[in-house]
Symmetry: C2
Subunit: 302 residues, 2 copies
Amino acid sequence: MMELTILGCHSATPRANKHTTSQLLEVQGNLFLIDCGEGTQMQLRKCKAKFSRIQHIFISHLHGDHFYGLVGLISSFRLLGRSAPLHVYGPKGIKEIITLQLKLAKSWTDYSLHFHELSSSKSEILFEDEVVSVATLPLDHRVYTNGFLFTSKTTKRKINTAAVADLDLEHYHYRQLQQGLPITLADGRSFENTTLTLAPEPAKKYAFCSDTAYLESLIPLVQGVDVLYHESTFLEKHADLAEKTKHSTALQAAKVAKAAEVKRLLLGHYSNRYTDKEEFIKEAAPVFDAVFLSEDLKTFSI
Amino acid sequence: MMELTILGCHSATPRANKHTTSQLLEVQGNLFLIDCGEGTQMQLRKCKAKFSRIQHIFISHLHGDHFYGLVGLISSFRLLGRSAPLHVYGPKGIKEIITLQLKLAKSWTDYSLHFHELSSSKSEILFEDEVVSVATLPLDHRVYTNGFLFTSKTTKRKINTAAVADLDLEHYHYRQLQQGLPITLADGRSFENTTLTLAPEPAKKYAFCSDTAYLESLIPLVQGVDVLYHESTFLEKHADLAEKTKHSTALQAAKVAKAAEVKRLLLGHYSNRYTDKEEFIKEAAPVFDAVFLSEDLKTFSI
């Protein structure tokens, strides 16, 4: 299972209680931070996230509402005595921005800080371990921008506790069962794996796409994902502004969701000009009805 | 009169409801921003400050808790359609940090943005107009750091509305009275200025000193100021930490206030290790009893 917490979902300038883009994705205990607008570290505190469990930060692009909180978070990690390494993935230039500030403050990190600068216009895998892989989703915005696709891997089979209750299992039997193997007990009895286990949780896919103009080439890349977060800075009545600024409308986000046959669509990156967010749902739902609104500090299970 | 609003008064890492250093000083309608920790623009919104009236920003030093909110504020000014020029005063390097980020975001400001980079170790006047002058207060910290001394100028004399109630004054008579001149009416009657006016408000002095070790040379520079804000990151029980990190204790701040014969002392820049802020008062008051605690979003009249 994945758990997605929206730390901020508003565009451009933060307000007293409206935070700019940042999301925290938990995949089997690992925390991934996606974008990092100003004040993200305060939002992380509000949702009681354990800072040291964040080891990978993905920055979509170098507009301030998506990364101005990064240098502060990196600095706070140091002040809080972090020892775990940190990996930052983002557009070329991000390393210079951060290191210049740490250098002038004479505050280089004690923990190891790795920058992975991106410049490819094709989807590429950035990170992969036994539980998840992360790939870029090239987007179309005013500056070089990537979305990110998180794919969790099929986990181990689950022990059927009722079925094994009367069996005298050794530790290695559990491991064999989780791996899908049959087992043989000390008394000679053998069991097929499926008689003692339940199917593992299926792999999950989460696609984060902000900021972008409506983009046909995105559709095959997010085909069938469990949740698609697609920016909807504007409503159709401001389609001219969306086109000019290379953003999307709620209707365009819904069209991508429908064409890609995703399971759920999550809207966000709202322009501050709109007070009633339900208008976004009203615009998207006729095209794609499994549509939801991002809200600061709201959590979604994937 | 000056009015000082504390936007943030905590050190090092911001918390959910504890903001790092930033202060807004109003001098006869002009707003001066002093330091700009992460999230300052949200704090400015909370106290409903009019962004366009901030034309001068003073940054004491390049530690993150004093300036990580600056680039976001500068960007928001642009997004909100600012046309007024902005002057930023701060240590050498501040221009490169800000301009690099604006360049990579392809978001150069439409308004004129002037950087005044500081490197002198002597007090110097940074800005002066008809209502206020601002001078640096060289401090002793781990990186090049200045405090700032704001001196308001004596304002025009005030019209004694009761005394002029029965007189048929022209517009130019008011101007002459405000300037301290006698007036002659159309009917030939003359009046001494002091019979129709009240004394102007006296000049006021506000000294901002954060961050610094205990510093003897500061005393003559802040002699007799109306309010001295002096950092007190630590209590005496952590005097070793204060010395090591070039910060001050509440007791040291009180000693500076007493030696400089200031009217009021304002403490702040508290370390997050202390939960009971009254301990700072208890430590300072035996040496200097006109001592007050900074609190986020609290306003002090000077």
